[in-house]
């Protein structure tokens, strides 16, 4: 019986981090919003680092509902893209170069997105995690939870439906 030598940990980490960085870097609006992603294995946490330009109510002050919605939608789209691409990233068929060039790689399209504003967003960093509740060939349903100081006290949550890349390339438009 032949035993395969496991890949060195740094090689695994580098491959995953490079692929994630390529996906995130491809979308200019993520940079505009100052959103980054932290990764533990395949689990992603979106982080929206605080900036004054994210404020929607200067009197309170509170984060803008539009910025919160955009943050949740970005977290959902990246989670869905990441989960869909994971197997191809792991077996080496999807490289960061291929992601950057846009060949054999496409983003899901948002069909609808609903945001529930649970409490006002404080002027500090925000975190979000997305869960894919349905992932079919044509569309996916994704739920996102966002918090600031306490993981158990969400300040916003969102649910969205997304058209999967294969389905939208097959669609005659």
């Amino acid at each position: 019986m032949t035993v395969r030598t496991p890949e060195p940990v740094q090689v695994v980490k580098q491959r995953r981090d490079d692929a994630l960085a390529a996906i995130v870097a491809a979308i200019p609006y993520i940079q505009f919003l100052n959103v980054s992603f932290e990764r533990r294995g395949d689990e992603l946490t979106a982080v929206m680092a605080y900036r004054d330009t994210l404020i929607g109510n200067p009197a309170l002050p509170a984060l803008h509902g539009g910025a919160i919605a955009a943050f949740l939608e970005v977290a959902a789209v990246i989670e869905l893209t990441w989960a869909t691409a994971w197997a191809a990233i792991e077996d080496g068929t999807l490289t960061p170069e291929a992601i950057t060039s846009g060949h054999q790689f496409a983003l899901p399209k948002t069909i609808d997105f609903t945001v529930d504003y649970l409490r006002s967003g404080l002027p500090r960093d925000a975190y979000a995690r997305a869960t894919i509740n349905r992932s079919g060939r044509r569309y996916a349903s994704v739920h996102v939870e966002a918090w600031q100081d306490n993981r158990d006290r969400l300040f916003a949550q969102g649910t969205g439906h997304f058209l999967m890349p294969d389905a939208n390339s097959a669609k005659a438009d």
């Binding site: 200067p58 803008h64 983003l107 609903t114």
Partner: protein, 139 residues
Amino acid sequence: MTKDNRAIAQSFIDAIPHSHALGMKIDFVGDGEAHMSMDYDERFIGDPATSVIHGGTVFALLDTCGGAAVISHPDHNGATATIDLRVDYMRPASPGQRIRAVATCYNRTRSVAFVRAVAMDDREDKPVATAAGAFVTGG
């Protein structure tokens, strides 16, 4: 609406840092209705393959426009906050084109205002997105 009202509404929007950062303009406000617009900007791109702006920017415009419609209602005093908002993305916004939003506060109670909104690019007969939501009234 008088010209002064539009100027007051615009200065109100300019005081919102995130709306200012997205370059939102007030085109009309009055009696529970608001019209706003936002120019195309490459920094807003959400899909690099098509240069289409991210849905989040359209969401932000519809949310702000909805809030402006609530505040512009004759019975309204003070600020407002979004309770929930749903946006349906009908088609991609054409790259390079300005997005216009029209929001109407079609019902108000003592604590809640109900809003519908629509976003269009240059093709006004086919909306880019529609929205429905609830906002807080009164303090």
